[in-house]
Symmetry: C2
């Protein structure tokens, strides 16, 4: 379900965050589905529970999961995810990315066709579920 890469120079909790986001975004984990507990995942990955805790806390702040003491952690419903702060961050990231793409000489048409292709590929993938 989750594989860590120790050659990766990024912190473990970042890797966990990214992998978990992917699982949620790609629909592998469904809304309100329970995800492994802090201790379970720590044991599975043979790392410290505190590291999982940090990853989960970040994911909760970003709106991807919610946690209930005594019960566990769960995939957040979409409504919770769509918060303006996150949207602003994503837009800012998009601006940076496009700025660099323009700089290396990509035309608007090239960029948009990339967006189009990516969008289509993702839609196809989601329809398979």
């Amino acid at each position: 379900m989750l594989q860590l890469d120790y050659r990766d120079r990024r912190p473990l909790y970042e890797q966990i965050k990214e992998k978990m986001k992917e699982l949620i975004i790609n629909g592998i984990l469904k809304q309100d589905e329970r995800i492994p507990s802090v201790r379970e995942l720590a044991q599975l990955l043979t790392i410290n529970p505190n590291t999982i805790q940090k990853a989960y806390k970040d994911l909760e702040v970003e709106g991807f999961i919610y946690s209930i003491r005594g019960r566990g952690s769960f995939v957040a419903p979409l409504n919770d995810v769509i918060n303006q702060t996150r949207l602003n961050e994503l837009t800012k990231d998009l601006e940076k990315l496009i700025a660099e793409m323009m700089y290396v000489g990509l035309t608007k048409e090239q960029i948009i066709s990339s967006v189009d292709r990516i969008y289509k590929e993702r839609q196809d993938k989601m329809e398979d579920d």
Copy 2:
């Protein structure tokens, strides 16, 4: 010209890289223009020269600047910037970003109109120079 943020949790050399990229991408620094020397910038920012050196080395690898021993560091000509490796990285970043934007419910049209807006804004800005 360059302002560091010590509340930022990212490493200083990352901040320097990002700021320098912005200056180049936004056309503030022109092709073949000389940028501050390692020692100059270190003194200006009151940080260690080795930190600047690391930032500059990274920027050179990514194709944004080139350095000549004994002379200084300069903004790279565009042709050098367009390398396939960098393009692949940018495309991968774009894929991740769009995936998350789709997840939070943005339609293809919304994303493309964002791209369109960003592109136009940047073109206007560049024409002012």
